[in-house]
Symmetry: C2
Subunit: 547 residues, 2 copies
C-alpha cells in the first residue's frame, strides 16, 4: 500500500524558488576580488541563476554535463550553484590550490565542458587551458569591461556579458531527484584524485539536516559567513541550507586574513561563521592584538581538522562565542557530526565540558556511524574502545565517479554498505565521537591500538619540541611498536631518555614509544600535514632498540 502524498522530487531549484518567494529582499554580501563590497539579495540571485540556465541552454550544454568553477566565495559563485544544478547540469567545484597538473587531470577526468573562474585565477587558467581539451567555454567572473584584451584564451568571455543578454524567465525542469547535481574531487594520499558525485536528493536532505538546531542551526534571522571555501565540499553545504531558511549570506572572497574577516563580521552583523582552525587562529590573533570584541557573532563552526583547546576556550570564555566542533568529509556532503552539547554535558564543570567540546560530536539524523575492529566487529560506545569509523546515510558516497578505486564500501552481515572514513575513533555513551587517529597511522601493538596523535601531542607538549611524528615500526613479537620522530626547537635541547621519561604518567606504559629519533625536518604536504609515508621511507633502514 502506497502513501498518497504528492510526488515531488527534491531538487536544488526548489531551494532558490523558496528563497526568492520568501526572502527576496534578504541580503547576499560579498567582498569581491576587486576588494569592494558588493550587495545583492536572494531575489536577484534567483533572477540571475535563471539567466545562467538560459545561457547554458544557449551553449547547448546537455543535461548532466559538467560546468566547473574556479572561484572564491561570492555571489556569482552562488548564482552558479543554483543556475547550473537547477537546470540539470552538474556543478563541478575545482580547488584552485591544487597543483596545475593535478587540476588539468581532474578537469579532463570530469569531462568539464565549461569553466567559470575568478580573475585571481587568470594566470592559472592561462597556464592550463590548452591542456583541458574537453573544455569548450571559458568564462571570467567579471564585468565585460574588466576582461583583458589579450588573455590568450580562445573565446574567453565575461560572465556579465554571457548572462547579461539572457532572459531572466526560465522554468526549472523537473527530473529524478537521484540525478547528479554537483561534484567535488578528493585527493587521497595514494592514487589519483577521486570524484564524489552528489545528487539533488542528497543535497536537499543534507540541507535539511545541516540546518537543524543541533547541527548548524540556521534561521532566517542569521547572517552566515562561510569562510570555508565554496570549492571545498560546497562550503559544507551552507549555500543550500541558507537558501532553505532564507538567511543572509556574507562571502569573504579571497581575503581571509584576520582584519578582513573581522571587519566583515562586524559590518555585516554576522551571527555565525564557519571555517577551518587556521582562519580562526588569524582572526583571534587580530582580536587579541587590537583589543577587539565581537558585537553580533554568536557561534563558529570549526571543522576540517581538530580544533585546539586554546581556541575553544578563547572563543567561549574571552569572546562569548560558542564553538561548534564539526566533522565530515568530501564523501559525506560533508556533515557527519556536530559537537552540540546535550543537557548532561551543559551541566558539567568547565574543564570536563571542554573535554567534550574537543570531541567531534554527535551525528545529524540521517547519518549512522559505528566503530569496528579489524574483523569488522562493532566496538562498544564507552568513550574508550576505538576502532575504524564507518558511516552510512543518504548523503554519504556509494562509489566514486567512473567507479575509480572500485567499491569503497564495507558490508555488514545484513548486507548494508558502510563507508570507511579512514579515521580511528571512540564514541562515548552519549554518542559523542572523537577521532583518535587516521587508520593508516594507528599503531597496532600486541593486539592493541596505540593512537599516534596521543603520542605526538605529549611530545609536542615538551618545551624543547617543535614538531613530532609518531610512526609504527615492525616488531617480531608485538607486530608494531611506536617510535617518535622529533624536530627540536631552535636552540632547545632534550635527550632521548628525557623525552621518554616525559611520557611517565601521561600514557599507559605499553603505549610509550620505544625510541626517539631526532631529525632536522619532518616532510610536510601541500596543506601542511605531516607526510608519514615519506617519513617511513626515509627511516627504512631504522632498527628498533633491542632487535
Amino acid at each position: 500500500m502506497l502513501g498518497q502524498m504528492q510526488s515531488q522530487p527534491l531538487l536544488i531549484s526548489n531551494l532558490i524558488v523558496h528563497a526568492e518567494r520568501h526572502h527576496a529582499g534578504t541580503e547576499i554580501v560579498s567582498r569581491r576580488v576587486e576588494g569592494d563590497i558588493h550587495r545583492t539579495n536572494w531575489g536577484q540571485v534567483a533572477q540571475r541563476s535563471r539567466r545562467i540556465a538560459n545561457a547554458l541552454d544557449a551553449l547547448k550544454l546537455g543535461f548532466g554535463e559538467r560546468v566547473a568553477t574556479l572561484a572564491w566565495n561570492g555571489y556569482r559563485h552562488l548564482e552558479l550553484y543554483f543556475g547550473v544544478s537547477g537546470s540539470g547540469r552538474v556543478l563541478h567545484t575545482l580547488n584552485p590550490r591544487l597543483h596545475p597538473e593535478q587540476l588539468v587531470w581532474i578537469v579532463n577526468h570530469a569531462d568539464d565542458r565549461a569553466i567559470c573562474f575568478d580573475m585571481t585565477f587568470l594566470p592559472l587558467v592561462q597556464a592550463v587551458w590548452r591542456k583541458c581539451t574537453g573544455v569548450k567555454h571559458w568564462i571570467a567572473l567579471c564585468d565585460a569591461d574588466k576582461l583583458p584584451a589579450d588573455s590568450g584564451i580562445d573565446g574567453l568571455q565575461s560572465y556579465e556579458a554571457w548572462i547579461g543578454g539572457q532572459s531572466d524567465t526560465y522554468t526549472w525542469p523537473e527530473f529524478d531527484e537521484n540525478c547528479a547535481s554537483s561534484m567535488c574531487y578528493t585527493s587521497g594520499t595514494t592514487g589519483n584524485p577521486k570524484g564524489a558525485v552528489y545528487s539533488h536528493r542528497s543535497t536537499l536532505l543534507h540541507a535539511y539536516g545541516a540546518a537543524l538546531p543541533d547541527a548548524l542551526g540556521c534561521s532566517a534571522r542569521d547572517a552566515i559567513l562561510p569562510v570555508v571555501p565554496m570549492f571545498h565540499v560546497n562550503a559544507w553545504g551552507l549555500p543550500y541550507s541558507a537558501a532553505a531558511v532564507g538567511c543572509k549570506l556574507v562571502f569573504p572572497g579571497g581575503a581571509l586574513d584576520g582584519k578582513s574577516v573581522y571587519e566583515l563580521i562586524e559590518n555585516e552583523q554576522v551571527t555565525m561563521a564557519a571555517g577551518v582552525p587556521t582562519v580562526w587562529q588569524m582572526l583571534l590573533g587580530h582580536l587579541q592584538q587590537n583589543g577587539l570584541k565581537f558585537s553580533t557573532l554568536k557561534r563558529t563552526v570549526i571543522g576540517g581538522s581538530a580544533c585546539p583547546p586554546a581556541m575553544i576556550t578563547a572563543f567561549n570564555d574571552q569572546y562569548g562565542v560558542e564553538v561548534l566542533h564539526a566533522w565530515g568529509m568530501t564523501e559525506m556532503s560533508p556533515l557527519g557530526t556536530v559537537c552540540t552539547l546535550k543537557n548532561a554535558q551543559v551541566a558539567l564543570p568547565p574543564e570536563e565540558k571542554l573535554q567534550v567540546r574537543l570531541k567531534q560530536g554527535r551525528t545529524v539524523f540521517g547519518v549512522d556511524m559505528k566503530i569496528v575492529d579489524e574483523a569488522g566487529n562493532e566496538q562498544p560506545w564507552d568513550g574508550k574502545s576505538y576502532g575504524d569509523l564507518l558511516v552510512r546515510g543518504p548523503w554519504i558516497i556509494a562509489s566514486y565517479f567512473k567507479g575509480e578505486g572500485g567499491d569503497p564500501l564495507r558490508y555488514d552481515a545484513a548486507g548494508r554498505g558502510w563507508f570507511p572514513t579512514g579515521d580511528v575513533a571512540t564514541i562515548d555513551a552519549d554518542g559523542f565521537m572523537q577521532i583518535t587517529d587516521r587508520s593508516k597511522d594507528v599503531i597496532k601493538s600486541g593486539g592493541e591500538w596505540i593512537s599516534s596523535i596521543d603520542v605526538e601531542n605529549i611530545a609536542m607538549a615538551h618545551p624543547a619540541v617543535a614538531m613530532a611524528a609518531c610512526i609504527g615500526m615492525r616488531h617480531p613479537k608485538w607486530d608494531e611498536r611506536p617510535i617518535v620522530v622529533v624536530v627540536k626547537k631552535p636552540g632547545a635541547e632534550v635527550t632521548r631518555d628525557e623525552l621518554l621519561k616525559f611520557y611517565d604518567g601521561k600514557i599507559a606504559k605499553w603505549q610509550v614509544p620505544d625510541d626517539v629519533v631526532f631529525v632536522d625536518a619532518i616532510p610536510l604536504g601541500a596543506t601542511g600535514k605531516m607526510q608519514k609515508m615519506t617519513l617511513r621511507q626515509q627511516l627504512k633502514d631504522y632498527v628498533l632498540p633491542g632487535l
Copy 2:
C-alpha cells in the same frame, strides 16, 4: 547522469534506530490514564517497538495492513507509532471524540485489522466492536492484571501480555519510502470522512522540516509537551521530530486541565509545548488564578485555530514565553506555516509586532503556497490582496484513501497540482500568510471579497454582543451582500442602527453589512464552530433591505 550517493530509503524505523543509538537514556514521561506518572526512555521505547513488530508478525498481519489506535498521548502510543509503521504496517490513529457511528464507518472504510485502545475508551469499544467487522484483534493498552474479567469483547487481550512474550530482537525491514506509514481521517462539513495516507518519505521530510529553527525548533536539549493529541495528525508530527533530534517527550494523557498541564510543565522542566488555543486558555487561567510563573517553558506552538491576541500578549509579556502561531491541516502532515519572525519584524514596535504574530506565518521549506482568485490567477503578496490559499509539497496530500472525493488538486498552467486548503488568505511581502476566512464563508460582493471573520470580529467587539455570524445573502446586483446575525449578551441592548454605525471607520463602507438580524442562538457544531450552513437554512425566508 546519476548521483553516486548511498541509496537509502527514508523510513520511520530510521528514526527509532537513531533515537536508541544516540539518546537511549533520554526520558519519555507520561501521565497515564491511571493518573500516575510513568517514566521510560528512547532505549526502552525502541526495544518495546521491536516487541510490537514481532507481535504483529505473530498475528500474521501483512505488509500495509492497518493497525488502529484509540488512545491519548502516552508512551504506549509512541511505541505503536514506531512498531506498527517501522514493521511496514500502517498506523491508523482514530479520533475517540467522533460519534460512535462515524467511528465505525471509518474503521470499516480503513479496513482496520487490529485496534489498540486506552482503557478510558473501553465503553466506546464495547459499544462499537461488533460493528467493526474487519477488526480481528482488540488490544487494551494496559497491564495484564488490569484487563476486565468480562469485557464482552471477544478475544480482548492486554497490550503488556501481547508484547510481553515477544522477543525484543527484530530487524526492521527495508522497503520503498513511498509506502504508506500512517493515516488519519478528516471530517469535512459535507460527505463522508476522508483518509489522508502519509508515506514514510513524507513523514521523514516533515520531521526534518518541522524541527528546523524557524519551524518548531527541536533540539536534544528540549523537553517537548505535545498537548495536541497523537490522534490528531500525529500530534503535528512531534513524535517523529522528537526521535530525529532525541529530545525528551512529556505526554499529558487525558488530563488537559490547567492544573495538570502546569504541573507537568514544571515538574518535567518542559521547554516547549504545542496545542490548540482552548488548552492554553485553561492553562493561562490556572496561572492567573494562582499567581504562578513558568520556570523552564520557553515557547508554545499554537495551532488548530486562530490564536486570540490576548493570549499571545499574556504569554509573551506576562510569562516570557514566545508564542509561535502555526498553521496546517490533516492533509498537510500537518505543518504548512509557522509565524517565526524575521529580523525586520523583531525590530517592530510592540503593537505592530503583535499584528504580525497574529498571522499564521511563513512556510517551512518543502511547502509552497499561493493565493488565487476564482479564475486561478495568482494574487500579489502585498498583505492586502486575498484569494483561495493553495499549497503543494512532498508532505501534502495528492488524493484521499480509496480515491474518495475524486482528485482534490487544482492544476496550474505547468500542470503542477496544488491542494486547495479551503481557506482564504492574504500573504504579505515578507511571506507571512494570514487566513481571513474559510472559502465557503467568504462573501463575494460586486467582484470583491468580504471576509466574514472581519465583519464578525467587529461585531464581537461591541459590548452588547455575545456572538456574531456574518453570512452572504443573494443580491441581484452585487451577487452577495453581507448581513450579521447577532446574539446579544444577557441584559444588554443594542439596536440594528447602533450596531451598523459601530462599523464606521473600522472597515470600508461597501464591506459594512446591509443588515443585522438578532437571534436567540447561533447553531454550533460538536467542536464549538458556528454552523453557517444550518444558519443559512434557518434564514431561508429572509429578504435583504430594499429588495
